[in-house]
């Protein structure tokens, strides 16, 4: 009786060692499936860097325009203002286009689908705060309240990032916090709005894009 218990113990022990490797594989596969099914992780860091560079180039062009032709003050009518708006939309459009292109490429490389439940959820959750904020800004601009628009764009963009981070690479959350804080500072000191935009949409995108690029893209 005692012998069979001892024997059983040894058999049990050895299968345990063999199986613990399989269990380890199970656990890592579980984590992988949880991430893959709920998060879209193929966001490209490089596209963040490029978006930041576009923003800096756009800001430099705006700065030069306003300094040379308008004595450092931006009036809300005339060709300079229209050109600045054009630059703004060009930067935004180019950033989105670059993001889509590079993310599609990365998703293909990762074997992740570009348009599935997780990417749809990511985009939806990103767009809800962004669209709500965008509409709100349009409404107050229409009421001739121009002072806070710049701050609000930073704040709502930051909130959109925080909201989206649950469905993508979690680190985006911190970029969102930074944008919200910059937006609040911008609301306090509207005079520095231009430089806070340069910092938020330009420098922070480059810094964050580079961090993402080296953390997730280069290693593999």
């Amino acid at each position: 009786m005692a012998r069979s218990i001892v024997l059983f113990y040894f058999v049990f022990q050895s299968t345990l060692d063999m199986e613990s490797k399989d269990y380890l594989k199970d656990i890592s596969e579980i984590k992988n499936l949880m991430n893959k099914s709920s998060r879209f992780i193929s966001l490209s860091g490089l596209s963040g860097i490029l978006a930041g560079i576009y923003a800096l180039v756009g800001a430099a062009a705006t700065y030069w325009l306003v300094m040379t032709y308008s004595n450092g003050t931006l009036y809300l009518d005339g060709w300079i203002f229209r050109t600045v708006l054009l630059i703004l939309f060009a930067v935004a459009g180019l950033s989105i286009l670059t993001g889509i292109l590079l993310t599609t490429r990365k998703a293909k490389k990762n074997g992740e689908k570009i348009w599935d439940a997780s990417s749809r959820r990511l985009i939806l959750n990103f767009l809800i705060p962004l669209v709500a904020g965008g509409l709100y800004i349009l409404i107050i601009l229409n009421q001739q309240k121009y002072g806070q628009a710049g701050a609000l764009m930073l704040i709502f963009y930051g909130l959109a990032l925080v909201n989206a981070s649950k469905f993508s690479i979690g680190d985006i959350r911190y970029l969102g916090y930074i944008q919200v804080i910059l937006g609040l500072i911008c609301a306090l000191f509207p005079g520095y709005g231009f430089w806070l935009w340069v910092l938020g949409f330009g420098v922070m995108h480059i810094v964050y894009g580079a961090m993402m690029h080296f953390k997730y893209d280069v290693k593999k």
Binding site: L16, S20, Y23, L24, I30, S37
Partner: protein, 98 residues
């Protein structure tokens, strides 16, 4: 020996663990989503889903999207609790094993 008591026989299969992992982090998942993520055949997936359904670890919901029938699944509270217990047991086993 008490270690082994929390290892759940129902979960003792790669695909079943996979199904439950997906349902833990998603409110629901439909048949095709599970199939694509787990890379299994229809028949294979169906049999494992059935086993989990029989244990009442997941619920099946049949509906129509337009004209197409769509079957989607969500984990029950019991299923989630049992899955957590199972994972904890696995982790303890791994710690003992190494």
């Amino acid at each position: 020996m008490s270690l082994i008591t929390n290892i759940n026989k129902v979960f003792d299969h790669r695909i079943r663990l996979g199904i439950m992992s997906i349902l833990m982090v998603n409110e629901y998942a439909d048949f095709n989503m599970l199939k694509e993520l787990l890379e299994v055949t229809d028949g294979n997936l169906a049999s494992h889903v059935k086993a989990l359904e029989k244990a009442e670890y997941l619920e099946v919901e049949k509906q129509f999207i337009g004209r197409k029938p769509n079957t989607r699944y969500n984990a029950t509270q019991l299923g989630k609790t049992e899955f957590k217990k199972h994972i904890n047991a696995l982790e303890k086993l791994i710690q003992k094993g190494t």
